[in-house]
């Protein structure tokens, strides 16, 4: 059975490889390219760093994805494709072997070798690096968590260069999605000599040595980051763009104005309430893809009122997610009824049986539950959210649902984002606005939101039986069985109503029609500029 599973995985890997070769930076036949292959895209915020080991935000990772290349990568539709590694294999349940291509080079001409990955990963989990993601990904490599905790030395990390072009990674338990995980640049290679030579300054233009399709040309904080095509890149023949300028515009309105005046080809995300307008005005430029992200409200499961599952269930039941998605947020988001979102690998998104009931029936049932729990109409519940028109609109709608359908009053408490995060993490709330975007395409990234004792579990719920299923799933070598166990566990947890899943994220944005290679089928919203090109216009 074990061998068969490994063979199945190897087959899947081969398929991925084949798929990857089809998708890698190919311009469709007949497409006429523009003479000037330069793209300006808004990145949503100023990157906190260009050091891939420390990068945390979406914006920083967008940049490191262009500047560096990991063992694998994801293409414009989110499929895992070869990066520096040409092939990979799970040789035993807890060992992966990656074969590196011999023509991969650093921007200074040095060869990219297995030792660069060993150094990169050891540096990533080293407490001295203090990477915010160290334990998120560190747990998937043998001794990773122990090193982050300071209990073992970075040299004890389960990653080894078998030879210059063969890398072995040991995992603490079977990690079937390792190829997907390795597309994250936190786990990518680092040019040791450059870091040692320049120290903290190694990420500055002129100092940085990178191995991606682009090199760093200019970085002006809060203004722009300019990348240029890397002449040393192994696949340079398939890289069309010669220059990519990333803007750090946070304000959606300013972003759109730059787009309308022709200074920006790619709006990061449309301001709330503008999706319908642009859908009508610029139908060829509006893009909206579903993302692996969940909008939800966290219950404080330790709160005296919300400890009762009947109250949690009743509050969840009466929210009309269809109206919320279609009329309130109005940007194409689909209703969500589970912690697992649609499209994520490794588990199926479940739904509550009542989700198909007519609202009258749901309200009647919810009222019964509230009465049985002894909750009187007029009861007040404090709802904490961060200052944002978007979240306020959602909160006002939900408050109205609870007031009109159950007689429950919502005491809305708006605050700054950082203040909300602190309250949420400290458990000082009754119900709080929450959200999660997948770190990697596997169900486990979402399950961390509801697992016992998880750092990400703001709800403070715990279902030990479900946790056992997750543990069992993590140990499983059979992808189908693993998926079944995770799906069962998620369904079991959701019957406890630890949180209120509301909507699955979408990414409404404007992209100029001449930007080729853009896809709305990229669920992680991870685009490499390598896959993009400018069509003649």
């Amino acid at each position: 059975m074990k061998n068969m599973s490994i063979k199945m995985m190897a087959g899947a890997v081969a398929l991925c490889f084949a798929a990857g070769s089809v998708w890698a930076a190919k311009v469709p036949a007949g497409t006429q390219l523009h003479a000037k292959q330069e793209l300006v895209r808004n990145n949503g915020s100023e990157p906190e760093t260009l050091d891939p080991a420390v990068a945390e935000s979406v914006g920083a990772n967008n940049l490191t994805r262009d500047l560096f290349e990991g063992l694998t990568a994801t293409d414009s539709v989110g499929k895992v494709v070869p990066g520096v590694a040409e092939s990979w294999k799970q040789v035993d349940p807890t060992t992966w072997v990656f074969k590196l291509r011999k023509n991969a080079k650093w921007s200074n001409g040095d060869n990219v070798v297995a030792g660069d990955f060993v150094y990169g990963m050891q540096r990533f989990v080293d407490p001295k690096t203090a990477s915010p993601y160290a334990s998120t990904y560190g747990i998937f490599i043998a001794n990773g968590q122990e090193i982050v905790d300071g209990k073992k030395a970075p040299s004890e990390l389960g990653v080894k260069a078998i030879d210059q072009y063969t890398l072995e990674i040991k995992t603490p338990y079977p990690v079937g999605f390792m190829p997907d995980l390795m597309s994250n640049l936190n786990l990518g290679p680092i040019h040791k000599a450059t870091v040692e030579k320049f120290g903290k300054e190694w990420t500055k233009p002129g100092n940085m040595v990178s191995n991606g399709a682009f090199v760093l040309k200019d970085w002006q904080v809060n203004n722009k980051v300019v990348l240029e095509k890397n002449p040393q890149y192994w696949d340079k023949a398939n890289v069309q763009l010669t220059k990519v300028t990333y803007l750090p515009i946070e304000d959606g309105n300013a972003d759109v104005k730059l787009y309308q005046s022709g200074e920006n080809d790619w709006v990061y995300q449309l301001p709330p309430g503008t999706f319908d307008k642009f859908k009508t005005e610029l139908p060829k430029e509006i893009k909206n893809g579903t993302m692996l992200g969940l909008r939800y409200y966290s219950y404080n499961n330790t709160d005296p009122l919300l400890k009762d599952v009947r109250v949690r269930k009743a509050l969840s039941m009466v929210i009309d997610r269809d109206i919320l998605g279609q009329k309130i947020t109005a940007d194409g988001q689909a209703p969500a009824y589970s912690v697992i979102v649609k499209g994520v690998a490794g588990a199926d998104a479940g739904v509550y049986d009542w989700s198909t009931w007519p609202m009258d029936k749901r309200v009647a049932e919810a009222k019964k539950l509230m009465a049985a729990a002894g909750v009187q109409p007029g009861t007040k519940i404090k709802f904490s959210y961060n200052n944002s028109e978007y979240h306020k609109k959602m909160a006002v709608f939900v408050a109205s649902e609870w007031r009109t359908k159950l007689g429950v009053e919502m005491d809305m408490e708006a605050m700054e984002f950082k203040a909300l995060l602190k309250k949420r993490h400290d458990g000082e709330f009754q119900i709080a606005r929450n959200g999660w975007v997948a770190d990697y395409n596997d169900a486990t990234t979402f399950l961390t939101l509801v697992q016992c004792g998880s750092d990400q579990n703001d709800n403070k719920n715990c279902n030990k039986k479900a946790d056992e299923l997750i543990l069992k799933g993590n140990q499983s070598l059979n992808p189908a069985e693993r998926k079944k166990l995770f799906t069962q566990a998620a369904a079991m947890i959701m019957q406890d109503y630890p949180m209120i899943p509301l909507l699955q994220y979408t990414l409404p944005r404007l992209v100029k029609p001449y930007v080729g290679g853009y896809s709305t089928m990229n669920p992680m919203d991870r685009f490499r500029s390598k896959d993009l090109y400018i069509i003649k216009h």
Binding site: S135, D251, A254, A419
Partner: protein, 306 residues
């Protein structure tokens, strides 16, 4: 004069210390820290980050270490922008804000004073009403309204100028932000100049000058202008300081990489060192601007001696 200047600079030191200390306490007691994110960090990762930025030290050690570094001109490492020191960030943003703010204040003075003079000389005429109406638009309509209107006209409809951004001091990128700040600042100088000049023109020494048969031009330029400018000079200090706060909106609207943008980024990220660094900078600028204004007083009114 030199001893006065030196005394003013020395007296700024306790002001700076109080500003830094009060801000230091405020940022530390504000809920939410620099490492609070959607993804809660594990205890070990948080401890590693705190150790990296010395947040695991006792508060007094952190505070005195900060002051010691400050005395050596080191504003510390940014908590948010891991690759940059606060000195770097401020040094990058300051020229942008100084350029935009400085040019707009000069223009506002020039245009505001001129408009104020014309309005005062044509008091209660249609010219006066028209100028004061235009000026009052600048003072009453918020900059976050005027800014997008400018963008709509000049960048989107007529595509004459960029909607925002900053291209290495490229002139066309500066036009709209400078125009916005000028409109705001001009309102103050224009109103103050008009009122002040009307008051001076009604004073006894001007009446005497008129009785002597001097022309209006001579009266205004030689006798009335200097004393009438004293209240305008008083307004320069607050105007210069408020230009920094106005820059928060202006830089936001036009996506400029100046101090205003940095202030909002620092505050929302709880970037302690960056917030403190900007407080130090703004305090120093305030002291300098007020000193310059005081020296200007002495030039405008020889009776003022220090």
């Amino acid at each position: 004069m030199w001893s006065y200047t030196l005394r003013r600079i020395l007296s700024a030191i306790p002001t700076l210390w109080v500003a830094v200390t009060v801000c230091y306490v405020l940022v530390r007691i504000t809920p939410g820290g620099p490492f609070d994110g959607e993804r809660k960090l594990s205890a070990a990762v948080l401890a590693n980050l705190q150790a990296k930025y010395h947040l695991d030290w006792p508060w007094y050690k952190q505070y005195f270490s900060y002051l010691n570094n400050l005395l050596h001109g080191d504003l510390g490492a940014s908590f948010r922008f891991a690759d940059w020191s606060v000195n770097d960030l401020v040094a990058n943003a300051l020229p942008v804000s100084l350029t935009i703010g400085g040019i707009s204040i000069l223009l506002a003075l020039l245009l505001g004073v001129s408009a104020g003079i014309v309005a005062a000389l044509r008091q209660n005429s249609w010219v006066d009403y028209l100028l004061m109406f235009k000026i009052s638009v600048g003072s009453t309509v918020p900059s976050f309204v005027i800014g997008p209107i400018l963008i709509l006209f000049f960048a989107i409809w007529w595509t004459m100028l960029p909607a925002g951004g900053w291209n290495d001091f490229g002139a066309k990128y500066m036009v709209l932000p400078i125009a916005l700040l000028t409109i705001i600042n001009m309102a103050t100088t224009g109103r103050v100049m008009r009122g002040s000049l009307i008051e001076v023109l009604n004073s006894n020494f001007i009446r005497t000058a008129r009785a002597k048969g001097l022309s209006t031009r001579t009266i205004v330029l030689r006798h009335a202008l200097k004393p009438a400018l004293i209240p305008v000079a008083s307004a320069i200090g607050p105007m210069a300081i408020s230009s920094i706060t106005a820059a928060v909106v202006t830089e936001h609207v036009f996506s400029l990489p100046g101090l205003g943008k940095l202030i909002t980024t620092a505050a929302s990220n709880r970037d302690y060192t960056l917030i403190l660094g900007l407080v130090v900078l703004v305090t120093v600028l305030a002291v300098l601007v007020n000193l310059l204004v005081d020296l200007l007083y002495a030039w405008l009114d020889p009776r003022i001696r220090y």
